[in-house]
């Protein structure tokens, strides 16, 4: 039986640098997303992101290969200097970005007013989990695509999609936020800096590794996030993935250090009519971007072909799974909220 998918979802890949952008495009990304070198985007890390010249070069490379460039302007404009965010919208237009990914109604209002032709995508940081929320942003700011938070299960994704008139993008692979994006202040509670107010979560400047009698303690600010034995693998102290005690039981109380991998759900996602699949990881290496892009390109193509009766039933190839597992946090992957094993 063939299912004949109405559309082939775009593969949207992360670009934390010009090199990563070029490798993603060459490996088959339909679109790449990137941000500027400041707090206007949610991966505001030293050594990452683009200045205008690099952005222009990236756009030229992508467009020459038929790929799009989306600019992430997905933090909330600081009350003290909103002009920095307005300027970033102007830059998106100047560099020739194909769309702006945004979360702040102030940014959307500015873009609508000053650059009505600029295509807007609603960032996952806008926390839109229902079709009514998405409709709010469409009606007021004309958004043409919404990226869904990583907390919805597959049936909810389908329900949103059936009731929305804009394109829907979901996360396919990468680090997992267990909290609703745009609604988490855990990081600023400890460090003063959060994704919403500074474009960072658990910022490196607040992390300290301390050797202590064979073990290694890792602190974020003054809080002990985790403690690793001499032979235990050490993960980055993203605070929701630390080990804490509840009722005297020490465990990963909020989330295990695993990555999302929804590749096995591609047939369902395509049947729903998902417009785009996003790979997380602008902070990751260019090699990660290249390899993960290549594997997802192959999987999306194979799944689409299978839907059209070519090449047999879609199955995740063992070598794809192996590549993704290599790049996953703690070498573990999960279907995350899509399947809700914890439901």
């Amino acid at each position: 039986m063939t299912v004949s998918y109405a559309r082939k979802p775009q593969l949207v890949c992360p670009a934390g640098s010009l090199r990563a952008l070029q490798l993603a495009v060459n490996a088959g990304a339909d679109a790449v997303y990137m941000g500027l070198k400041d707090a206007t985007n949610a991966r505001n890390f030293a050594g990452l992101n683009f200045d205008l010249e690099q952005a222009r070069e990236g756009v030229a490379h992508a467009h020459a290969k038929g790929a799009q460039v989306l600019m992430a302007l997905n933090t909330f404009a600081r009350a003290q200097e909103p002009e920095r965010w307005w300027r970033a919208v102007d830059l998106a237009v100047e560099m020739g970005a194909d769309a702006l990914i945004c979360a702040d109604t102030a940014v959307m209002a500015y873009a609508c007013r000053e650059h009505p032709q600029l295509r807007l995508h609603l960032s996952v940081q806008a926390s839109a989990t229902s079709y009514e929320a998405i409709e709010f942003y469409r009606e007021h700011y004309g958004i043409q695509r919404a990226v869904l938070p990583r907390v919805l299960m597959l049936s909810h994704v389908g329900h949103v999609l059936r009731n929305s008139s804009v394109e829907i993008e979901v996360f396919g692979f990468g680090s997992l936020c267990v909290m609703v994006e745009g609604r988490c202040a855990l990081s600023s509670y400890v460090t003063g800096q959060s994704p919403n107010n500074a474009g960072v979560c658990s910022p490196p400047s607040a992390v300290r590794w301390v050797d202590k009698a064979g073990a290694v303690q890792v602190r974020l600010g003054e809080v002990l996030i985790d403690e690793f034995g001499p032979t235990e693998p050490r993960g980055y102290p993203t605070l929701c993935k630390g080990r804490f005690a509840v009722d005297g039981v020490r465990d990963y109380a909020l989330e295990d250090p695993t990555s999302l991998n929804s590749m096995a759900l591609l047939p369902e996602l395509m049947a729903m009519g998902i417009a785009a699949i996003k790979i997380e990881g602008r902070q990751r290496s260019a090699a990660y971007v290249e390899q993960v892009t290549r594997v997802w390109r192959a999987a999306i193509d194979a799944c689409f072909a299978a839907g059209n009766g070519q090449g047999g039933r879609f199955a995740v190839q063992p070598q794809w799974a192996a590549t993704l597992a290599e790049h996953a946090e703690g070498q573990q992957v999960t279907l995350g909220a899509y399947s809700r094993p914890w439901r």
Binding site: F76, A77, R78, A79, Q80, P82, D104, T105, A106, A109, A126, S127, T129, S130, E132, A133, E135, F136, Y137, E139, H140, V151, L152, M153, H156, H159, V178, M179, V180, G182, R183, C184, A185, L186, S188, Y189, V190, T191, G192, N196, N197, G221, V223, L224, I225, E227, C240, R243, F244, A245, V246, D247, V249, R250, A253, L254, A337, R340, W342, R343
Partner: protein
């Protein structure tokens, strides 16, 4: 004459039995509180009180002379969630507080309240929401008071289309709701699935404390919500609150000594008592966690400054 600092009792974040909820609001009816925000904001599975019960309670509190606001659910996922939201939006007896953009979509065009979970970080965003009809703004928890003043300046407040100035209400007491998830962390702790959670959160009237390995009280698990273990407390910030144009304070319920907390805020902000003796009184109450105030002062939220 000095204008009254209105006291709002924020929505109950915890899962309390119906009897406990009723007793709590009966005590609040006799308190100095001006306004109460009612409704289940955390988890759709918590049904000790249904909308009709909340509305009945709202009617009684209004009879007792209180203003009542109905709060919407913070995370909207299912069609059932949207149905409840529509029922709240369709009644016009009480003001509604929007906790997400689905609520904004259904409430626009009439007066409503912006909860701290609507991301307003600059004046233009507040203007966008005032244009929809917002009349009251509770800033995001992580915003400091100086920034709050910049966004809604007391000298030139943001106005809605009727020319009415948007009031600023600041979260001034209680454990802070820092994060929301679809996942239930209380059920996870008890090795239960969310759909068969046995409502174990009923056992934790102030949530379940999460400690660092070295024993520091850090966060609180409250079902799908994660709170600060520290109790945000702005009892000592009267001058800064006044300077920021704050007209209302939000006090978030806890299971013990809450009536005494409301009394102390009333004494300090409206009856001329000094903040120091108010803070001494709070420290003597055996509250569920340490006091913090960092966010108000542009520091980490868990910091405390005298």
């Amino acid at each position: 004459m000095h204008e009254r600092m209105a006291l709002t009792i924020g929505p109950l974040q915890y899962h309390w039995s119906r009897n406990d909820v009723t007793a709590f609001y009966a005590s609040m009816a006799d308190s100095a509180a001006d306004c109460l925000v009612l409704g289940e904001v955390v988890c759709a599975r918590r049904r000790e009180l249904k909308l009709a019960d909340w509305l009945a309670l709202a009617g009684e509190l209004r009879q007792a002379g209180k203003e009542v606001v109905l709060a919407t659910q913070t995370l909207i996922e299912s069609e059932a969630d949207l149905r409840l939201l529509r029922s709240q939006a369709e009644q016009h007896e009480f003001l509604v507080e929007a906790n997400d953009a689905s609520a904004l979509q259904l409430l626009q065009g009439r007066p409503f309240v912006l909860s701290p979970h609507i991301n307003i970080y600059n004046q233009s965003a507040l203007q966008q929401h005032a244009a929809l009809g917002a009349t009251r703004w509770v800033p995001p928890l992580e915003l400091d008071l100086a920034t709050v003043a910049l966004i809604n300046p007391p000298s030139a407040p943001v106005c809605n289309p009727q020319g009415q100035a948007v009031e600023t209400e600041v979260f001034a007491f209680g454990r802070m709701p820092l994060a929301f998830s679809a996942r239930c962390f209380t059920a996870r702790h008890h090795h239960l699935n969310k759909d068969e959670c046995q409502y174990r959160c009923l056992d934790d009237p102030d949530g379940l404390v999460l400690r660092s390995t070295e024993g520091q009280d850090f966060l609180v698990l409250n079902g799908t919500q994660t709170q600060s273990a520290g109790i945000h407390c702005l009892l000592g910030q009267a001058p800064a609150l006044g300077a920021a144009g704050v007209q209302r304070l939000r006090l978030s319920p806890c299971s013990r000594s809450f009536a005494e907390v409301v009394y102390q805020f009333e004494q300090v902000f409206n009856q001329g008592q000094d903040a120091e003796s108010g803070l001494d009184a709070l420290h003597a109450l055996h509250l569920p966690g340490p006091l913090v105030n960092g966010y108000a002062l542009n520091q980490a939220g868990m910091a405390w400054q005298d």
